[in-house]
Amino acid sequence: MTPASKAMLTKIVVGAVWLFAVVWPMTGITPQGFEFGKAISIVGFAMAAVLAGLGLWKLRQKLDAAGFKPFTALANRCCGMPPWLWRGLLLAALLAFPFVSSRYGQDVAINVLVYVTLGLGLNIVVGLAGLLDLGYIAFYGVGAYTYALLSIHYQLSFWLALPLCAVMAAAAGVVIGYPTLRMRGDYLAIVTLGFGEILRIILNNWMQLTGGPNGLLGIKPAAVYLPDPENGWEFVRVLLKSPEAQYFLVLAIALFTVVSVRRLADSRIGRAWEAIREDETAAAIMGVNTFALKLLAYSLGAVFGGLAGAFFSAKMRFVSPGSFTFIESAMVLAMVVLGGMGSVPGIVLGALALIALPEVFRDFENYRMLVFGAAMALMMLFRPAGLIPAKRVGRRSEEAHS
């Protein structure tokens, strides 16, 4: 036995003992007496999973050593295509999707697109400007409640309300952003988290306006005027209630977001944000107005949250504070980091991974969040820079400061 595999064996044994010491008291001590079966089966299951994982890892190393790299080959081939071609193909696939997918698939796709929008919005704040925001979901909430209230009380159409939602969210971004501008790093994290919680508490308790924990009912879906072939091609008002229609609506919002964020990232403003992210003091010395630009990052990031929120409330036709909890903020942040901060395709992939994959575990409903948490930690262990790392990141965002 080689020393390396001996060390591995010791690690596995120590791990098993530790796991048993942690699991047994929680499952085995009951007022009726001690019970070992559950703990043993959990530890056994975990060890089997670890061994299987190790086996796969070894297999991958062997394949790598043998020069078997299907993904790299595929990626190279895709990169070889002219951009308009694969973009066109992708768009065609996205447009065709609802016609070939089941109802359930459409629902998942809508969800993924909502999170893509949120992830890209948060990416402006976290990925580009480097400001850690743990309360991003507040903007989603502001957008959702703005449309809900406008629709219920003023019967305002979705299309007119949409810019108002964006404006309200941007205003909320400024309100949250302003006091945090002087803070750095982790202080920012707790303060944004605090703001998110404040919003949720207010939504929960301001009964007259928000309906408290019961939420708001009777929100109108979005509507469009379409020519109706059966009525002599006359324009009629169609409510976007079907999943297909909602899919196209959110696809439009998501595509708008993708294009805007890409353009922003490549603009002067985007470069200034990245300068702030890499070294705020240096950026300020070089003449970047860090104050205004950080505020702008907050408000522009919030805009996309607001748009997604408005769509969410038009789709559900119901909003309640339960949809805007910290775990949602964490989820969106996970997508941004998991995907590879600052990279648009990465975030799309991150949203797919975090929304679509747990759907696979639908049948084990109870274990879904358990798997989600473990997956989040594991992904960070194996791909700390994200699935598709952004190209333009510097030393400070890659390494921990020593």
Partner: protein, 303 residues
């Protein structure tokens, strides 16, 4: 006046709970600059371990004969349990990420938090678990207000732990090594301190304190729930930041301030919005004093 004193006692008790949790955040942050999101789960696990042990001892009849010994055993075992849990979590989810970006570690911590919370839910169920009510509901009458026995127990144990921690950190060899590692990890290695061991021990101590807080909260409010770690966790982290993260005294002070804010705003202003006031105080303090109340800023190389 009596009403005020009554609220003050309540606030001190609650503030003590927050302070015990906040210490773990601040110590871990001080040493590896990580917001340990899983810390609230150590608090919840401690609360559960307490109720599991006390319920078992209750069913065996030990509680009726030796209540104090049982309580001590429950505290010691639950604290040890959470210490072991935390050391394992650190080894698995944080240690491999020492050189990775801060955000990766933060997300790993978030993932662990979700994982542990759901692990608790799956093993212990979604419903409240009630503490055996052996420690009687009595109270000491003092003029117009009273201190319940539970409050005396809670204040006593909290005080004991805080004093003990202070001695450990500021008087012992281990404490010196912990502070040295927090201030300059490379230099600590150069004088022979194993930073991995110190980091592991820091997690263990923080988790043990959180576990004690978990049992106290369980005893005080009568029950525990699998998701009980989240809100107190955030507030305790706010307390740590308020006091100046990395500062032990700051965490204690911050915990007391958050506890006071919560109790007094509930008593005098509004019960529904008590948490809002706690966060507003936090934001206001950070706005005017960006390093917190007792945060030191000797060298600003690490943000």
């Amino acid at each position: 006046m009596d009403f005020f004193l009554q609220q003050l006692i309540n606030a001190l008790t609650l503030g003590g709970f927050y302070a015990l949790i906040a210490l773990g955040y601040t110590m871990v942050y001080g040493i590896i600059q990580l917001i340990n999101f899983a810390h609230g789960e150590f608090f919840a696990a401690g609360g559960y371990m307490g109720v599991i042990l006390l319920a078992w001892m209750n069913s065996q009849g030990y509680m009726q004969t030796h209540p104090w010994i049982c309580l001590t055993i429950a505290f010691v075992l639950a604290m040890a349990y959470c210490a072991i849990l935390a050391m394992g979590v650190e080894k698995i989810a944080y240690k491999p990420l020492r050189k990775a970006s801060k955000l990766s570690v933060l997300l790993s911590a978030l993932g662990m938090s979700i994982f542990l919370q759901n692990g608790l839910m799956l093993t212990q169920g979604v419903y409240d678990k009630t503490y055996p009510g052996v420690f009687a509901k009595g109270a000491v009458q003092m003029g117009g207000f009273n201190i319940t026995y539970l409050q005396i127990i809670a204040l006593g144990i909290t005080g004991l732990l805080l004093v003990g921690l202070n001695r450990l950190v500021y008087k012992s060899r281990l404490g010196k090594a912990m502070r040295a590692t927090a201030q300059d990890r490379v230099m600590a290695t150069l004088v022979g301190v194993s930073s991995d061991r110190i980091i592991s021990l820091t997690f263990a101590i923080g988790a043990a304190l959180a576990a004690a807080s978990g049992i106290l909260v369980g005893l005080y409010y009568g029950s525990v729930r699998y998701d009980m770690g989240f809100v107190p966790g955030i507030k305790a982290f706010a307390a740590a930041v308020l006091g100046g993260i990395g500062s032990i005294t700051g965490a204690m002070l911050g915990g007391l301030i958050i506890g006071m804010t919560e109790i007094f705003s509930a008593a005098y202003i509004s019960g529904e919005y008590k948490d809002v006031f706690a966060f507003i105080i936090l934001i206001a303090v950070l706005y005017f004093m960006p390093t917190g109340l007792l945060g030191e800023n000797i060298n600003d190389t690490r943000v």
